[in-house]
Symmetry: C2
Amino acid sequence: MERILISETPKFIGQKVKICGWVDTVRSHGKIVFFDLRDRSGIAQLVFVPGKDQDINDLAKKINSEWVVEVEGQVNQRPAKMINEKLATGQVELLVENLKVLAESEPLPFDIKDLNASLPTILDYRPLTLRNEKIKAIFKIEEEVISSFRKILSEMDVTEFQSPSIIPLASEGGSEVFHIDYFDYDAYLAQSPQLYKQIMVGVFERVFTVSQVYRSEPSITTRHICEFTGLDAEMGFIKSWEEIMDTVEIVTKGIFSDLQKNRAKEIELLEAKLPNPNVSFPKIKMREAQKIILERTGKDNTSEPDLGPEDEKEICKYAKEKFDSDFIFITHYPVKKRPFYTLADPNDPEYTLSFDLLYNGLELISGGQRINDYKNLIANIEKWGNKIENFDFYLQAFKYGMPPEGGFGFGAERMVKQFLGLANVREATIFPRDMERIDQRLSLLQSDKKKDKKEI
Amino acid sequence: MERILISETPKFIGQKVKICGWVDTVRSHGKIVFFDLRDRSGIAQLVFVPGKDQDINDLAKKINSEWVVEVEGQVNQRPAKMINEKLATGQVELLVENLKVLAESEPLPFDIKDLNASLPTILDYRPLTLRNEKIKAIFKIEEEVISSFRKILSEMDVTEFQSPSIIPLASEGGSEVFHIDYFDYDAYLAQSPQLYKQIMVGVFERVFTVSQVYRSEPSITTRHICEFTGLDAEMGFIKSWEEIMDTVEIVTKGIFSDLQKNRAKEIELLEAKLPNPNVSFPKIKMREAQKIILERTGKDNTSEPDLGPEDEKEICKYAKEKFDSDFIFITHYPVKKRPFYTLADPNDPEYTLSFDLLYNGLELISGGQRINDYKNLIANIEKWGNKIENFDFYLQAFKYGMPPEGGFGFGAERMVKQFLGLANVREATIFPRDMERIDQRLSLLQSDKKKDKKEI
């Protein structure tokens, strides 16, 4: 008999079927045992009534949560009072006739269905806790965010390319970069695909890339991790830098529209609230934002070169109150706070043609127009204290003709965190890496090594 | 005026349009200058006849290859004898009325249109040489291979996840792993997403991932690079290991079918030959393959534990001659030649339920059924000389119930290399990394550092 999916069982009332999955829960009612069985499509109720076959009777008694089983039996309509409206298969149950164990499970360390463990424990047991329905739903949302990003840009005639992770120098500056022993040489992990996506504008005009990016974050915060999935786009022949913001708005709204269409079940389960698709994202200059924050809070940060986390929260509150928008573009960051490749505003050269898109209180997307003129770019690299020869490869793209261009990038995990209102970005990261953890806690895993080091 | 794409120009005969792009070539015929202009959609012929505006006349004289320009003018039907059948826009030309330089280019180091530089030179100038039409076409093919892989598996209800690159130990064994300085600890770059995709089978049953994978290859060959794009899938509840091979065949044929549909232009340009879609991939055991090779060549490798590169070529010749197949599955590799998680054949425990798919003389895809039983897996980890505690995290997936499962993986670059008949996998890698190169040649870039090291 061919296996069917659990979601298909309501179509087979009165018929024999085979289903497979993990035992979600077991409830004994005297001799009769009820199992909930879980596969990728849903959950089914199995009813086991002991019969003549003593082997199967014994097996049914042994089976517990997370055992993997194959079951044959008849799909029956449930008695009216047993119907479970909340479950897609809640009007049927399967009367077990044959039962085969595909894999046993050891007793669980805690209940993964009704999970109330702390985040560190949830992460210590990630391979197990990922099986929780709500945690699973987070990563179905993330899958959709990424595939929707790709779909929307592909439809805009943007070419996808694979950006390398091993890079010869710390391209974006800053100390937050991981060093790799690369044969006899030094190499680093990419902090972003920035330089490569710019090079690729010279080839395909418009490109995007989905790549793992790395930040050696020396502190633990709820919004930073050491490895995340960067969604990056870059486009040439732009008429103005505002075209980049328009694209960001189209892409962001498109992602939420796809989530609504393709992940309604997960959105309902996680009680997430979709942003209003009819509101245009407001845009204000950073200096104006600081003035608004001063007016609203009395705190004067108007001479700061950037918005702090509290400022970001406050200006998002303002955007929500004034425009009913979960998003707000903050534009014109000071030249000093942006990387060397950012284009200065010709009308106000202390500030850049750059923006951040804030979402529900947190910076989500960064972008802007870049310097496409070869000589200006060289001058800026030197001004930022870098050696030209370290950028020879990248600079070829500009030496041989680069159109006006710009782009944007963001982390998939952070978008999911903000959408679902998760307290910590680690909850939106399948296997989060930070200074204390790569899968397991490093202090446990490499305790020998640390001891060795201390002894030296 | 809004910019139109060059491919749209034939629809605008007799009308004024604006187009943008890179100057591909310049040909002066007395006073009249012909430019070929290139954008992402194609190439257009521009005709410039000097007029009253001396500034534009001077500009037109200065412009050379790779300058980026914006042009306004009238689209005209070409005279009959000037029609170029080979060009999509070959029946029209644009009479230039207005000309604006968006970016200049320095003189090119060599002709990138008619490229006959050596591969090292092509890679030294990658940002420039990627603009060559044939090289560009390679990466449009690669884009399609990857997006087709995703599309086919998504349609099979397989969930995509993002596999991490930073790992706590060298999971697959072997010395070919890059070390990262990870705060106070050791970490490594993933050699494959193997352990993570297996964990994810416990969550979503069927998963795939597109991830950068890393091999610290200590020698230079035409088929190895240090960072490549791994296309990996893993599926639970398989009825037999042959289901994995069936999936490999469906995915492989699906990719070529999508290439034919969506990349016909590039396939024609690169003169690539699509495999015959109607031939089933033949399957033979490794020991049988060795016997066939002995019969065909007289060379006796029948006691070798693996096929060498020459063996792979010979058995592919055989598959082509006997089955008209560009592909052949080699199955049942010896237990010793496969990683610890590979399932042994219950009928012949010296051999595994594993396979390689060879394509045109080279190993392309590896896969097989895995050990899903927790106790067997632990026993094998120890047998392979590894410490159980190093695999605690991974082992959770099996401790708490893992169905029978298997999967496969391959490098996108290698598939493109074999399809296009390229001599070196670097040609199919946008920014290849090897022991001598990360973008630039390391000996040039880091010569100071190497000297320092020697002095120590």
